[in-house]
């Protein structure tokens, strides 16, 4: 058997030198931009469990920046994006945020990632610059100089649950979710609404995050309990897995399902055979028949052709962040924390899903209840300007 040839030190030194050059190169080659460019750090999912949203997030952010720049930028300065990976551990992302602030000198940070990472970033930003957090989340966060554009459980559920009860002609609920804060908080708030409607919760099942979960047993229990509606707070692969298993056991004819985070990518995974009587309640769908949305999707198609990554509420939020920032700074005329905060309250801005209004650092927005048909969403109900009921001062 031939012995392996050990690499000589010279080989490795040469390789290291080449690598160093390759790493340094982009910095050297990056064209010099306008000296007074306003840099914004944008945290997107390039790795990790949410990495499937990465390309769409980048596309939406870049379109947002381009749109704002075409209108004169922010405070008269052209906006420049510096992306960073939000899919790593909170410590790593926090470090990226520190680098964005110290080395790249960004003046705002937009983030589309989970809450643990948000805590990490909040910890290092410490309110020094505006931090706009865009995705669906559990609410209950009032950190200073942080602005939340995403859907909170109250928005998703308050108006839609009564509609679901109407459609299902029943008030019994089965709750299935992942075992972590967003799911549990959403379910706690859901239980209040269900009680208000005179409904009952038949059972709650929570599945561990990151574990190889199998849903046959919950589906068996649902089959036996025969609720009217299954309310889901599952994420990622578990969302796909549960819904396919559910349909496999033939339950989708009689029992309606409402998911609190079912967007286009996950629906594709669920597949057309498993999406009957499956509903989603979100602030945005890529197929929304609104002129603002047609323009948004149109711009992306123009730029990327049919390679345009599938947009969803998670990615579109980053576009909103740019619109929001522009709207606030038009009023505040400065990026200083106090001015920004003062101007932000009550500001209304137009997004691909319609009008949004910032109230106490959360956003009232349109909420859409959509039914799945095949692998597409069909909006069956629109609730305008639903408030978040969060009370941050």
């Amino acid at each position: 058997m031939p012995t392996s040839i050990k690499m000589t030190r010279r080989d490795l030194v040469r390789a290291a030198g080449a690598a160093a050059l390759a790493i340094g190169a982009p910095a050297i080659i990056r064209p010099a931009l306008a000296a007074d460019a306003l840099k914004i750090g944008v945290l997107v999912a390039d790795s990790g469990p949410a990495a499937l949203f990465g390309p769409a997030q980048r596309a939406a952010a870049e379109l947002g920046a381009a749109t704002i720049n075409a209108k004169g930028g922010i405070l008269g300065r052209q906006v420049e994006i510096i992306f960073a990976d939000a899919g790593a551990s909170p410590a790593e992302v926090a470090k990226s945020a520190v680098k964005l602030m110290l080395s790249d000198k960004v003046e705002m940070i937009f983030g589309s990632h989970d809450s643990a990472v948000r805590q990490g970033v909040e910890n290092v930003v410490k309110g020094k610059i505006p931090y706009i957090y865009t995705p669906v989340f559990e609410g209950d966060d009032c950190s200073s100089n942080v602005y939340f554009l995403g859907e909170v459980p109250e928005q998703e559920l308050q108006k839609t649950l009564p509609k679901m009860v109407e459609l299902a002609k029943g008030k019994t609920f089965y709750l299935v979710g992942n075992d972590y804060v967003w799911a549990r908080t959403t379910n706690d708030k859901a239980k209040k609404y269900i009680a208000d409607l005179g409904g009952t919760v038949v059972a709650e099942d929570y599945y561990p995050l990151g574990a190889p979960n199998k849903f046959e047993n919950t589906v068996a229990k649902i089959k036996s309990a025969k609720p009217a509606i299954v309310l889901q707070t599952l994420v990622g692969g578990d969302n796909v897995n549960f819904n396919r298993t559910f349909a496999d056991f033939n339950l989708s004819d009689d029992i309606l399902r409402l998911s609190c985070l079912l967007e286009e990518n996950t629906l594709i995974g669920i597949g057309k055979d498993a999406s009957k009587n499956l509903y989603s309640s979100l602030g945005y769908f890529a197929d929304l028949d609104l002129p603002e949305n047609k323009a948004f999707i149109g711009e992306l198609t123009k730029k990327y052709g049919d390679k345009a990554p599938q947009q969803c509420t998670i990615s579109k939020g980053l576009y909103d962040a740019f619109v929001f920032a522009a709207a606030v700074t038009t009023k505040s005329k400065s990026l200083a924390a106090k001015d920004f905060a003062a101007a932000a309250d009550g500001v209304q801005f137009e997004t691909p899903s319609g009008s949004m209004t910032m109230m106490h650092r959360h956003t009232a927005k349109n909420i859409f209840l959509a039914r799945c048909e095949g692998t597409k969403f069909t909006v069956i109900d629109t609730f305008a300007a639903v408030p978040t009921q969060q009370s941050c001062t």
């Binding site: 599945y207 561990p208 574990a211 199998k214 068996a220 496999d248 033939n250 990518n265 669920i270």
Partner: protein, 284 residues
């Protein structure tokens, strides 16, 4: 209530059998060759993508099985030549190397197919009625196939000459070589068979799980524990491990809660690993 119990009972058997099929490839590679192939999940993932491609091309689903076996076998050939053999089949070294391999395979599939979910349609629709209760037909079919495959393998390994040669090579490689068994080829073929099995398992589970580049990671933990608890190198060990890890988790999940079941499965694995470090039915 009986209906629920019946369905849950079927679920337990289903989860045990499916886990056995998923672990089979690893049982061959790790149980017989002592190669800690932590990229095993990625071979399953590639098999699942092979099924997706075959289905998208409009071809019958059964064709996905040889397709996956071919692709995963080919990759296994390259891996054996470039990674496993230079490291002399040493367990901890191959663990590290296959770790890097797993990262690489995940990224390559991601670049080829994107990160989003792919949906593989179930080839056998509908349910069968058993004792008045309906159960999905595809799952039942899988259980039957799994049981058949495992039983045949058990008999083959005991009776067939190749099985004897493999047992000889595993037991005493030097002596096996001395009596004319070409251990290098046999080891290589065994490894390729292991990766091919993993690919076929991927075809089988593709309609049932979300298909995306990271799906392999969800299989690897349970696979390792099933093997180490059950015992490496024997079919009885494979059965025992799959039943304990897969079946027990299913029972506890129904009886208590999924999170408790998962933690319990981990603690039971620890107990077995502590008291029976070689597993319940190890290779003698």
């Amino acid at each position: 209530m009986e209906a629920l119990l019946f369905t849950q009972g079927l679920n337990v058997i289903y989860e045990a059998l499916i886990l056995a099929i998923l672990v089979l490839g690893l049982a061959v590679v790790m149980g017989l060759l002592n190669v800690l192939n932590i990229a095993h999940g990625e071979f399953i993932m590639i098999g699942a993508y092979a099924a997706y491609v075959v289905q998208r091309a409009g071809l019958p689903y059964l064709l996905a099985i040889p397709a996956a076996a071919l692709v995963c076998g080919a990759i296994g050939l390259v891996v054996e030549r470039c990674l496993i053999r230079p490291l002399h089949y040493e367990p901890f070294e191959t663990l590290l190397a296959t770790w890097g391999l797993g990262l690489l395979l995940r990224k390559c599939v991601e670049l080829a197919f994107g990160r989003g979910y792919r949906s593989v349609e179930i080839p056998i629709r509908g349910s069968l009625s058993l004792f008045g209760e309906s159960y999905p037909a595809y799952r039942l079919a899988l259980m039957a196939v799994a049981a058949l495959v495992l039983a045949s393998l058990f008999i083959w390994y005991r009776r067939a000459p190749t099985g004897a040669r493999i047992r000889a090579m595993v037991g005493n490689p030097v002596l096996a070589e001395a009596v004319g068994i070409r251990t290098r080829e046999l080891a290589r073929n065994t490894f390729i068979t292991g990766t091919a099995f993993a690919g076929v398992a991927g075809v089988m589970v593709a309609p049932l799980t979300p298909v995306e580049p990271f799906m392999g990671l969800t299989f690897i933990v349970n696979s390792f524990f099933a093997l180490v608890v059950g015992g490496m190198g024997t079919v009885a060990g494979l059965f025992a491990g799959a039943t304990i890890i897969g079946g027990l988790q299913s029972v506890l999940s129904a009886a208590v809660s999924p999170t408790s079941a998962y933690i319990a499965m981990l603690l039971i694995s620890i107990l077995f690993l502590w008291q029976r470090p070689r597993g319940l039915f190890p290779r003698p």
